[in-house]
């Protein structure tokens, strides 16, 4: 099941590490310090990159949810679960870096800005995904339920964003997250760190899918062992 031939993983990991080194260099040495916010602004590059990874994860989860319901192939469920795991971690990072940035810049850990609100609700939805996963025993049933949860969560996101923005359009927003003036070196730094995080996402997803698939196989083997009568086992050894 698990291919033994030429594992591309070391290459992928090396590339990701190099990209990260480049990103750190670009962010801290290539891009100039922002005039008003100063050094704090550096967190923005990683913040946005985390958001990208979260977005990639949840899109993947939704697509694999649809694919599972159509094909009933459990490999899609494994992909979906891996994607949501990674997405949840990176949504947490988005929220954390956002707060670290917001405290000095907006003078508040938290504001009900559309983007923040959307990320927070997204976090709740996909945390609920794991609560649901843990609550269902039957393999296929769990996969179908989780697929529905991932799809529902994904289609909920635009509505959350829209409603959060409507909320704000009545009380005008004072601070906008995208009000950053982008100097060309800053843009370079941003793009490099986006690429680094996207590569990291690829590596993590690959790993998690493999680990989850192996866990699945172990569980199946355990099941078979349980069912196999003791006599036959004794005869074998």
């Amino acid at each position: 099941m698990i291919p033994r031939t030429r594992n591309p993983e070391p290459v992928l990991i090396t590339c990701t590490a190099l990209l990260f080194a480049a990103a750190v260099y670009a962010v801290f040495f290539h891009a100039p310090a922002e005039r008003v916010m100063g050094l704090v602004q550096k967190i923005f590059y990683f913040h946005l990159s985390c958001a990208l990874v979260a977005f990639l994860s949840f899109t993947t989860a939704c697509i694999s949810g649809v694919a599972y319901l159509v094909s009933r192939d459990l490999k899609w469920d494994v992909l979906g679960a891996a994607a949501v795991e990674i997405g949840l971690v990176f949504t947490t990072l988005v929220l954390a870096t956002g707060m670290l940035w917001g405290r000095p810049v907006w003078n508040a850990w938290w504001t009900w800005d559309p983007r923040l609100t959307t990320s927070l609700i997204l976090w709740f939805i996909f945390a609920a995904y794991f609560i649901l996963r843990a609550a269902v025993e039957k393999r296929q049933q769990r996969a179908a339920y989780c697929a529905v949860m991932a799809i529902a969560g994904f289609v909920d996101v635009p509505i959350v964003f829209l409603s959060a923005r409507l909320w704000r359009s009545i009380h005008p927003v004072v601070i906008r997250a995208d009000g950053v003036n982008m100097a060309p070196p800053m843009l370079t730094a941003l793009l490099v760190s986006l690429a680094a995080f996207a590569a990291l996402w690829g590596v993590l997803l690959r790993r998690r899918v493999r680990i989850l698939a192996m866990a699945e196989q172990i569980r199946i083997l355990e099941h078979r062992l349980d069912r196999e009568p003791a006599q036959a086992r004794r005869a074998r050894y």
Binding site: R219, L221, R224, A232
Partner: protein, 240 residues
């Protein structure tokens, strides 16, 4: 497909938790056949019935009834399907009559009230028609449950260990009703452990083991004693 084939099961596979409940299972039944399926626990008997009843989707393979694939138009098919298992499928908060009228209406029976009364008479519960099903004794519930399953006068009847746990009266009643249905050329598949009852009523007899049909013969070619031996051998073969 022969002209008189009513049910055609071909290449059915289903996997649960890595155990293959059904492996490439195929067989055919003509209209009016009464197939009794024996087999050790976990042989895939219930899975097969659930797939035919459209409760579970197979991983691969298909079921055709009366020339139509179950995938499309399974709602139409279920109108003619009956299923008896150990679950009562009754609403405790509704009276015996209401339970039957509700089911009859769901199946689109022409006059649900009359059909319900007719069934209540058949299972000898007319006197209790207005009692809530939840207050019934076990035997009465079983009879009501049998009536419920036959509310649409099914063309295809699936029975999953129907005699297990039945009290004497209910078992007698079910036996009689099955004989009547058999005479009226209904197609019946019964899964059971009960050798005597299973062989007595069947027109064909099968043994399901390890997700495959290990044996399928017309009843008249089988000697009961020899079959009992074969059946025991299959069960023992599975467990050693």
């Amino acid at each position: 497909m022969a002209a008189d084939d009513y049910l055609e099961v071909s290449g059915l596979c289903k996997e649960y938790e890595g155990c293959r409940a059904l492996r490439d299972l195929s067989f055919r039944l003509a209209r009016g056949d009464f197939l009794t399926l024996f087999g050790p626990n976990g042989a895939g008997k219930s899975t097969l019935l659930r797939i035919i009843a459209t409760l579970t989707a197979p991983d691969s393979g298909r079921v055709r009834v009366d020339g139509a694939d179950l995938e499309d138009g399974s709602e139409e098919f279920r109108k003619r399907l009956g299923f008896i298992s150990h679950h009562a499928l009754l609403y405790d908060q509704m009276s015996a009559l209401e339970n039957l009228v509700f089911s009859a209406s769901l199946y689109g029976v022409a006059d649900p009230g009359a059909r319900a009364e007719e069934l209540l008479a058949q299972v000898d519960l007319q006197l209790h028609r207005h009692r809530l099903a939840g207050t019934f004794s076990r035997g009465m519930r079983q009879r009501l449950s049998i009536a419920r399953a036959l509310v649409n006068d099914p063309d295809l009847l699936l029975l999953d260990e129907p005699f297990t746990g039945l009290d004497r009266q209910a078992a007698l009643l079910l036996g009689e009703l099955l004989l009547v249905l058999k005479e009226r050329r209904r197609t019946i598949i019964m899964v059971t452990h009960d050798l005597d009852r299973g062989l007595a009523m069947a027109s064909r007899v099968g043994i399901l083991a390890g997700g495959r049909l290990a044996f399928l013969e017309p009843r008249h070619r089988i000697d009961a004693a020899a079959f009992a031996g074969l059946y025991l051998a299959t069960i023992n073969g599975e467990t050693s």
